[in-house]
Symmetry: C2
């Protein structure tokens, strides 16, 4: 990562402003189109280099209504939150531009500079690598991420500190760092040298050049809105469908036996969930009528309703479609929520969206890795992800559909769409097979519950939770 030096060609200001505004409106116009894109601008740098001034100048040149600015004071990492969690909500929608002053890099630097809890170089590099991966996922999902470092020499920093007007102090909170200490300045510079080389480094000695370099860089970014690829380059390697999906067990549990065990198990599960120090996410997938709702009911049986949250996932709304497909899940996972249950999940991308063509080839084929990274980030921030595929046979589904149609309070659960989905049974099995093969990981393993007996399935789900929490 070499400083670009300057020698930047200054553009005429009216010309620059006109081009920026045109590019803004053109970007706005990409929403829902094949070249859809949003722009996320991460801004960091040396104190007093003039980040705020450069953004202010930019906002005067553009149409300020279509450039949002988010400014949080940098914070240390929370060990129960992935680095992207505090910011996920603010990822811009297609057509939008967002400048983030506080961002995952400023948090990383703050955490690293905090003497009492040092992060060593290996950890630091690992964070930087995962941030880069997260940003690549954003880019693949139409969020162009650019990173700008406003740099300033030690000498100029000291001079600016000398000259600082007390009225300005408001915007130069010093983040617990002593900018008069050469040692701290040097460690900070050493740390940011470890960033990846895709940062735009802005020499901030001269105001006019700084503002122009920044604005011109934004302009180039805005102007670049290529169409997204939709066809995969190579042939897809389909996984074989395992027996567990094809032939669920038939054995039925005796009712009294079930009741006794359920009672004991659900108490044990409630205790295990409650007293685990980690957050817990329980995710259900499976064919319609596979018993997701019933299993969830038994998990929460002995819990207080204030202890958990259930999300039933349906088709995304329009404002969600304008963001990365994982975005609506990022925002449902709250660090203060102990137990979160999903009735259908982010795996919709590689199941219904793949099968119905809502996601194109490139998108669903890329999704397995995106999901694995997502679950790994959760795992690394002290969150257990327990995943279930409930497998039943096609005949058993028919029996259950018909029973639903005949039971008054279950009639609502069955629709024309369920019968339509049933026609694509084999496609769903293939998609599930690929999913199981590609996303069964050490940090977030799949539990395939393969039985046509509801009660057996419910107990198996409870056992699997205890097992993954290492309580059994």
């Amino acid at each position: 990562m070499a400083a670009q030096g300057n020698g930047i060609q200054l553009m005429d200001q009216d010309q620059l402003s006109t081009e920026l505004i045109e590019a803004q409106y053109a970007l706005k116009d990409t929403a829902d189109k094949r070249n859809a894109k949003s722009v996320l601008i991460l801004v960091s740098g040396i104190e007093l280099a003039g980040k705020g001034e450069a953004v202010k100048q930019l906002r005067e040149w553009v149409d300020p209504r279509y450039l949002r600015v988010k400014a949080d004071a940098p914070q240390s990492f929370n060990h129960k939150q992935a680095f992207w969690q505090p910011y996920a909500r603010f990822i811009p929608a297609e057509g939008q531009i967002m400048v983030m002053f506080g961002n995952w890099y400023s948090d990383l630097l703050t955490t690293s500079m905090h003497v009492s809890k040092p992060i060593d170089d290996t950890m630091f590099d690992d964070y930087v690598e995962r941030m880069r991966a997260y940003e690549q996922d954003l880019k693949n999902n139409n969020v162009d991420v650019i990173k700008v470092w406003f740099d300033l020499s030690w000498k100029s920093l000291q001079k600016r500190l000398d000259d600082m007007d007390p009225g300005e102090v408001r915007w130069h909170k010093l983040h617990g760092l002593d900018w008069r200490s050469k040692k701290q300045y040097d460690s900070l510079q050493k740390l940011r040298q470890r960033f990846t080389d895709d940062w735009e480094i802005i020499d901030s000695e001269e105001e006019a050049e700084r503002d122009q370099q920044f604005a011109q860089y934004i302009l180039r970014t805005l102007k670049h809105c290529p169409e997204h690829l939709t066809k995969a380059k190579s042939r897809w390697k389909q996984a074989g469908v395992p027996d567990s999906l094809l032939q669920p067990a038939e054995a039925e549990l005796e009712k009294s036996e079930y009741k006794d065990e359920l009672n004991q198990l659900s108490k044990k599960v409630a205790e295990a969930l409650r007293f685990d120090s980690r957050n817990i996410i329980i995710a259900f997938e499976g064919m319609d009528a596979a018993g997701k709702g019933g299993a969830i009911k038994r998990i929460v049986k002995k819990l207080d309703p204030r202890e958990y949250e259930i999300y039933t996932i349906a088709a995304p709304e329009k404002y969600e479609l304008r963001r990365p497909y994982l975005w609506r899940f990022w925002n449902k996972i709250q660090p203060e929520e102990k137990i979160t249950i999903f009735d259908r999940t982010w795996y919709g991308r590689v199941l219904v969206e793949r099968i119905e063509g809502f996601a194109n080839e490139v998108e669903w084929q890329r999704a397995y890795d995106e999901i694995n990274r997502f679950e790994k980030d959760l795992y690394d921030s002290q969150t257990v992800v327990v995943k279930f595929w409930l497998a039943i046979s096609k005949d058993e589904q028919e029996v259950r559909f018909k029973a639903r149609e005949e039971t008054p309070h279950k009639r609502f659960k069955i629709t024309e769409e369920d019968w339509r989905n049933r026609e694509r049974w084999d496609d769903y099995l293939s998609a599930a097979a690929d999913m199981l093969e590609r996303t069964h990981t050490a940090h977030a393993p799949w539990h395939v519950i393969s039985t046509n007996d509801k009660n057996t399935a419910r107990l198996a789900v409870l056992h699997a939770i205890l097992k993954q929490l290492k309580m059994e």
Copy 2:
């Protein structure tokens, strides 16, 4: 508010469950229809009465996926936040059911019981009255609000405290109250007697009756989904259109004079906005091309981009249409945001929505009072609301439209829709006249800026801000 006693008829549990689930699905099905409704259940009461247990039992009887529960610890009021602000985000969408343990009443009780900052009876009653008004607005906007108080005698409370298992303690945080103190118990009971009489009081001595009374009350609420009225009962009294809307001034400002004054004024405005201890909301309405964007640009000229937020209001999204129409504005106003600017506002309800028929007669006619209450709540929580109507003549609009079409970086600002809206010029003038007459209040006055000269308008906007902030 008399306790209902008991003597409740216990229903068969399976029957109750079936009816609840059917009612849930029927409610879900009302979304986007003429009988659309959501249900918000506010739960409060004496500690250990069994609120949590009753909701838990309810959640076992219903389909738990369609009954969300939000549990916050009660908090004291924040003087920069209206009582509804912490909860607005969680108002359920049409078809949804939400149980709120922490709510504005628990906050009111917490604030009142907090000895260092007592609320006297008049203030308490005033809060209760405003909460009732807010709830009425919710009801009118398809959110049925029900309020349930779980009551318990002093004697039973003491017995339950004696018997309490330490494992249960987790769910009985005592909110800083000493439940062993008869005096505190009595003051709490005295306070809740001052609540309005639309609370359902549940005698919580007997568990089974408590749970059934609660569930049956919910069932009755879910079942009641009448069609909403759309036609007003009486004839609308149209306000006369004032001269300020009909005949904007023509005098043009000399350019150098403008530049000088703008420079001085924008500095003064930045200082005034920055150093006011209150939050500030600046709201712009006016015909297309009236100069809203240009005025906003001059307001923020001397501000740091981290100091303010601009919202450009377009048509609501589908998920917003399923909530009260003010909901999307409630959520944009953040207590930590010092300066918030709206380019078009909540007045869309009585302007474009009225004219285009997106809101029916009953809805837009009711909106004036809803808006006045909304702005009063903001005013009372230390927020200044500065409102502008920018008036230009119809000829001037045409001149500006044509200029936009001929200027490259403004071409994007003009669409077919703008020309169509122009055809309804007189309807907009009438609607604006009604709006000005009915929502020009002491706590949130309108500033009508009536001039065809852009520069004159910009300076007048800056002057008006200073004036309302009492800085001029």
